[in-house]
Amino acid sequence: MAIISVQNLVKQFKTLNAVNGISFSVDEGEVFGFLGPNGAGKTTTINILCTLLSPTSGKAEIAGFDCAGSPDRVRSSIGLIFQDTTLDAGLTAYENLKFHAYLYNLDSKLAEKRIDEMLAVVALQGRKHDLIKNFSGGMKRRLEIARGLLHYPRVLFLDEPTIGLDPQTRNTIWGFINALREKENITIFMTTHYMEEAENCDRIAIIDNGSIIALDTPARLKQMVHGEIIHLVTADNDRAIQEIEKLFNITAREENGGLSLETEKGEEFIPKLIHSLPLQTLSVSLKKPTLNDVFLKLTGRTIRDDVLSDSKEVTREFVRSHRRAQR
């Protein structure tokens, strides 16, 4: 059963079409990812789904409720973790969670129970009464996840859940999310521009300039980029190219002082190749296609072309914390 269903969704800001008629549906229990560069329309779509923006046209439904028509019903069914932290730094972890519990109308006893339960899930029990001010970036993220889950939402939205976090913390956060998936039948909708993160999804929609340009499982998306690439260096590369042509009917090409060839199942092909080649092989490497290659193939650019906007994000963060310090 589809828990999120989006049909021909359009969002226009003055002259800019942030979202350009997208349609997709997400099944209950699925982890669904939106992958795309900054400014592709990921956050706009999330904002429409979580009732913060109204669509210019089209329809978005969560758990059978229309996002524009019955926002309160939608809001009760979703939990959100935004790109920027939305915790109150002047309150403690407990107070932030309690605030949330009251907004979602959990009764006090239940709230206390859930707060302890969720703090345990994200391993922050020991910091229950500490001010958020003194939390690290990773701890804040974990607490936000705990808060997003406090009212047992059916859909959890994660907008760039690990942006600005170091790889180790990123892994910890994913550990929590995966553990959660196993325990609860929760649907996760996430956006990201990290390839490695997208690999965690059951299905991925690749979005660019407000349109979905591909939607499938990570494995199938990667099949769009034909085969895997074997790079090998031999004692005599020219002769190796001829031999490979003769033996396997594959055209290899010279590259970086060695030769490259494309094949379907690299791991199985390498032993055959080495065994059959009548000359000495000096080194072999196998490169599997990544989602970045998929994006490159579909759009002609890599998704990481946005180093600049990342540094902008850092600057903004700096200005914020600086201003906060001045208060």
Partner: protein, 255 residues
Amino acid sequence: MIQVRPIYVICLREFKKFFREKSRLFGTLARPVLWLFVVGNGMSSLIRPHIGFSYLQFIFPGMIGMTILFSSIFSSISIVWDREFGFMKEMLVAPISRLSIVVGKAISGTLISVAQAIIILLLTPFLGLHLTLMQFLEVVAMSTLVSFCITSMGILIAARLTSFDGFNIIMNFLVMPMLFLSGAMYPVTSMPSALHLLTLINPLTYGIDALKHVLLRNGTPPLGQEFPLSLDLFVVSSLSVIMLALAALSFSKKE
């Protein structure tokens, strides 16, 4: 439309933060204390009104008004901070009405202002002013009304303010003129007619006038109250309702 638990918890958050940030309490109280003890006493030796009360007594209602003005504006501007630091989103995506958010902010802002007005009231013995219990209660009641009005006004402004940069403009072009054109520190009835007109559209004028009714019982214009008490109360309470409704309206608009 109005939900009790969200309003309660929004207020609770504001109080907690208020009492944690000692500098804010100190900051808003320092100004009226300075005026009363230093300027008030200094001017009292220069100006001796022949109406039966001192300059210090004259500015006392104004100083309560000033405390309320700054405290209320500061409370409502917290909406801009909330928005900038993301916390507003937490409230906006929760299944609560926009009106509840606005009312929660208005009630918390009001109570914090009244608390500060009461602190100033407790200083009266040190100023040589003596209030009866009845006067005390009346001042608290009127302070509540005025605080609610100014907080609602602040929320209406904050709902439209998109950045901190607007904050200084509001302080310099709205809050300070509101203070100077309210009769808090000097009588405004004898001002040039253009300026006097501005005092008439200033909600704080009516608030302070109401306080003068209680605190300067035997006063007459230009130093005492200017309007009938009923007019003061009518203007302040109707403005509160109008501004709060407008604030709730501009909050529920989304792109």
